[in-house]
C-alpha cells in the first residue's frame, strides 16, 4: 500500500485561546476560596493522621489550582468527575460533602459515603488509570442520551503509563465521546520521577497520535486552569475528547507514610516556582477579602473535623449489605454467622 497522507485531520489548536484568558473577580474569589479550603483540609488532615484519627493521608498540597480550577469549570447539572485518592481539591471544587468524602480516608468505607450522582464525582478510585476508562464509558452514555454532559477523568503522570489510559484515549477518540482527560503532571509518581515514567516527558504529546487536541497549561495558575478546562469541556461536548496536561508539583510527600528525602532533595523542592495559593492571592489582589476567606476556610475544615469525629452509623453489617443489590443466600448465612460470633464477644 502506498503510505497514506501523514495525518488526515490535524487536531484543533485549543490553547492558548486567541483572545487570551480573562476570569472575572467573582469567579476568581470562588476559586481562591475553595483552594484555601483544600489547602487547610490537607494541612489539617496530615495533622489528623499524626494524631491517629486517619490511618494515612495523601496530601494534594501544591495541586489546588489544578484541581479546584478544573472542577469549577464543570457544569454540575450534567457533567461528572472521575477522581482518585489525591483529588480533594476536586471534591471541594464541586462543593461536595467533605465529611462524606473523608469517610474513605478514615478507612471507614472504600470510596466514601457520597452518592456519585448527587455530588457529581465518582467514589475515589484506588486503581490508577481506571478513571480514564470509566469517564470514557460514562461520556459515551451522555452521547447516547443526548444530555450534553461531559466527563472529566483525573489521573497522574504515573497513571498515564497504564494500558487502560491508552485504551480509554483511543476508544474516546474513535467514538468522539465527550471526555476531558485531565492529567496532573506533578513530576512524581510516588518516588519515581517523570523521566523514568513518561517517555518524552509529556502526556499531552500523546494526544496528537490519536488525532486528539491537547492543551499544556500552567497547572498552578488557577485562572488558566479554569479557562482551559472550560474550553476543553466545550470542545468535548461538540467534537470529542481533549487532553489537558496541567504542569504542577507535588509539594508534599506521596502520603503521610512516605519519606521524600529518600528520593528527592530539599533544594529540588524549593526551586519550584510560586505556590499556587500565592498565585491565586495575587490574582484576587484583595488582602482584606483574603484574610476573611482564610478564616472561613479554617472554620469549614474545623466543621469537618467535628463531624468526622462524631460516630457514624457504620458497622459490620454494611460489609454484607452492599456487595450486591440482591444479596445471595450465602451472604445471608455468612452475615448471620458473623452476627452470632461477634455478639458473643
Amino acid at each position: 500500500m502506498p503510505v497514506p497522507p501523514s495525518s488526515a485531520a490535524q487536531p484543533a489548536q485549543l490553547w492558548p485561546p486567541q483572545n487570551g484568558v480573562t476570569v472575572d473577580v467573582e469567579t476568581l474569589r470562588g476559586l481562591a476560596e475553595r483552594m484555601l479550603v483544600t489547602r487547610v483540609l490537607d494541612t489539617e488532615a496530615v495533622r489528623w493522621q499524626r494524631q491517629g484519627i486517619l490511618p494515612a493521608f495523601p496530601p494534594a498540597i501544591g495541586q489546588e489550582a489544578a484541581q479546584v480550577g478544573s472542577a469549577m469549570a464543570l457544569d454540575r447539572a450534567r457533567d461528572m468527575a472521575f477522581i482518585t485518592y489525591r483529588d480533594h481539591g476536586v471534591v471541594v471544587g464541586l462543593d461536595s460533602d467533605l465529611t462524606d468524602y473523608m469517610g474513605s480516608h478514615l478507612a471507614l468505607w472504600n470510596g466514601g459515603f457520597a452518592d456519585p450522582n448527587k455530588v457529581r464525582h465518582s467514589p475515589l478510585q484506588a486503581v490508577v488509570g481506571a478513571t480514564a476508562l470509566h469517564a470514557m464509558g460514562w461520556a459515551y452514555a451522555q452521547k447516547l442520551d443526548g444530555t450534553g454532559g461531559a466527563a472529566i477523568a483525573y489521573f497522574g503522570d504515573g497513571a498515564s503509563s497504564q494500558g487502560d489510559v491508552h485504551e480509554a484515549m483511543n476508544f474516546a477518540a474513535v467514538s468522539k465521546s465527550p471526555v476531558v482527560f485531565f492529567v496532573q503532571n506533578n513530576g512524581w509518581s510516588l518516588s519515581t520521577p517523570l523521566d523514568l515514567q513518561v517517555a518524552g516527558g509529556s502526556v499531552a504529546a500523546r494526544a496528537s497520535g490519536y488525532s486528539m487536541p491537547s492543551m499544556r497549561i500552567d497547572g498552578d495558575d488557577v485562572g488558566e486552569v479554569y479557562a482551559a478546562t472550560q474550553i476543553a469541556l466545550e470542545h468535548a461536548r461538540e467534537h470529542g475528547p481533549v487532553v489537558i496536561e496541567a504542569f504542577t508539583y507535588r509539594r508534599g510527600p506521596h502520603a503521610t507514610s512516605d519519606d521524600p528525602s529518600r528520593y528527592r532533595s530539599l533544594e529540588e523542592e524549593r526551586a519550584l516556582g510560586p505556590d499556587p495559593i500565592d498565585v491565586a492571592r495575587q490574582l484576587v489582589a484583595d488582602e482584606a477579602w483574603w484574610a476573611e476567606a482564610e478564616q472561613r476556610a479554617e472554620q469549614a475544615v474545623d466543621a469537618v473535623r467535628v463531624q468526622m469525629q462524631s460516630p457514624r452509623t457504620i458497622d459490620g453489617n454494611d460489609m454484607f449489605d452492599y456487595v450486591f443489590q440482591e444479596k445471595t443466600p450465602q451472604l445471608v448465612k455468612q452475615q448471620e454467622q458473623w452476627r452470632e460470633e461477634t455478639d458473643l464477644d
Binding site: N110, L133, H134, F171, F324, Q325, Q330
Partner: protein
C-alpha cells in the same frame, strides 16, 4: 410458543428482544456489529438497532469492560462480549477491581447492572486461549454472579433473566453447544433460579454445567443400560451456587460426581465437593468424586479430547464412586 432453535440463535433472539424492550441496553465488543460476532450470536443486531447501540469496539478487552463500568454508572445496562474466554484475562482488573466492586464502593448508589457474555470452554478444536474454563476464577470474586446455560431454552431465558438482574452477571456460553438445537418455550421459562434436575435418578448424582451437562446425560443413558440410575443436575448458577438444590439431590442418591472442564486444583468442583461434605456429613456413601480437566494449560486441538472429561472418564468417576 415453542420453537426449535440452536443455542446461538436462542441467545441472538434474547439479545434482539432485550435491545427492543430496553432502550438503555447496548451490545458491544470486538466484531459483534457488522460481522455479527465470530459465532454469529449478534447477527443482524447492528442493522436493526444501529451502530450506536451495537458497537464494534477497538480490540481492547480492558477498555471494553471499563467502558461497560462507565456506562453502568450512567444508568445504562450494557451487554459487553469478550470474543473468547481467554481474552477475559486482559479484562480481569476491570472485572475484579471495578465491576465487582462499584456497587459496594458506592454503597449501592451506582449498581453495575450488566451481563458480560463469555463464549466459554473447549470442544471446538480452537487454538490455545480459545477454550478456557474460568468459572472458578470468577466465582471466587465477591460481587459477581456467574451463570452458564446448557441448552437453547436455558440460554434464552437465563440471558433475559440475567439482564434484568441489578448485579453484574458473567454469562458463560458453552461454545461447543452453539449449534445444537433444542426446544425453546418462550412463554414458560420454568424456574430460573438455582440448579435444575436435568434427569432424575436414584443411585448417584452427576453435577455439571455448560457443555458437560449434555455429556453427563449421555453417561446417564449408558449407565441406565447397566441398571445404574444416575441423576444429572445442571448447576446453572455457579455463583451463587444452589446449595440447597445440590444437597437435596445428593441427599437422595448418596453419591456425587462433579464434572467440569476447568483444571482440577482449586476448580469449582472443590467448592461443591466441600459444600456437599459439610452439609451431608454421615449421609454420603462415598467421597464426592471429581472428573475434571487436568492441571495443565488447555492443550491444542489435537489433545483436547484427552483433556476435556470424556464419557469414559466420567464413567470411571461414576464407577469409583459406586464401588467405594
Amino acid at each position: 410458543m415453542t420453537e426449535q432453535l440452536s443455542t446461538q440463535k436462542a441467545i441472538n433472539t434474547a439479545l434482539r428482544e432485550i435491545l427492543a424492550d430496553d432502550a438503555k441496553s447496548l451490545v458491544f465488543g470486538e466484531d459483534v456489529g457488522k460481522l455479527g460476532g465470530v459465532f454469529r450470536v449478534t447477527d443482524g443486531l447492528q442493522t436493526e438497532f444501529g451502530a450506536h447501540r451495537v458497537i464494534d469496539t477497538p480490540l481492547a478487552e480492558s477498555g471494553i469492560l471499563g467502558m461497560a463500568a462507565g456506562l453502568a454508572m450512567a444508568g445504562h445496562r450494557p451487554i459487553p462480549e469478550v470474543q473468547f474466554d481467554g481474552f477475559a484475562y486482559p479484562a480481569m482488573n476491570q472485572i475484579i477491581s471495578q465491576i465487582a466492586r462499584t456497587n459496594y464502593r458506592s454503597r449501592g448508589a451506582t449498581p453495575m447492572q450488566m451481563v458480560l457474555r463469555i463464549p466459554s470452554y473447549g470442544g471446538i478444536r480452537a487454538p490455545e486461549l480459545h477454550g478456557e474454563s474460568i468459572e472458578a476464577t470468577l466465582a471466587h470474586v465477591p460481587g459477581l454472579k456467574v451463570v452458564s446455560p446448557s441448552n437453547p431454552h436455558q440460554a434464552y431465558h437465563l440471558l433475559r433473566r440475567a439482564h434484568e438482574m441489578p448485579d453484574p452477571v458473567m454469562f458463560m456460553e458453552p461454545k461447543s453447544r452453539y449449534w445444537n438445537r433444542g426446544d425453546v418455550d418462550f412463554e414458560n421459562p420454568g424456574d430460573l433460579e438455582g440448579s435444575l434436575v436435568a434427569r432424575e435418578g436414584e443411585d448417584l448424582t452427576i453435577i455439571a454445567w455448560g457443555a458437560m451437562v449434555a455429556r453427563s446425560l449421555e453417561v446417564a443413558e449408558l449407565a441406565a443400560e447397566d441398571d445404574v440410575s444416575i441423576e444429572v443436575v445442571d448447576a446453572r448458577w455457579l455463583k451463587p451456587l444452589d446449595e440447597d438444590g445440590l444437597v437435596a439431590s445428593v441427599a437422595k442418591t448418596g453419591r456425587a460426581v462433579i464434572v467440569h472442564e476447568a483444571p482440577r486444583t482449586a476448580g469449582l468442583g472443590a467448592e461443591i465437593g466441600q459444600l456437599l461434605t459439610e452439609r451431608l456429613w454421615g449421609k454420603l456413601e462415598a467421597p464426592v468424586e471429581r472428573v475434571t480437566g487436568y492441571d495443565v494449560p488447555t492443550p491444542a486441538g489435537d489433545l483436547e479430547d484427552e483433556y476435556i472429561p470424556s464419557i469414559d472418564r466420567i464413567l470411571f468417576g461414576v464407577q469409583r464412586s459406586l464401588e467405594y
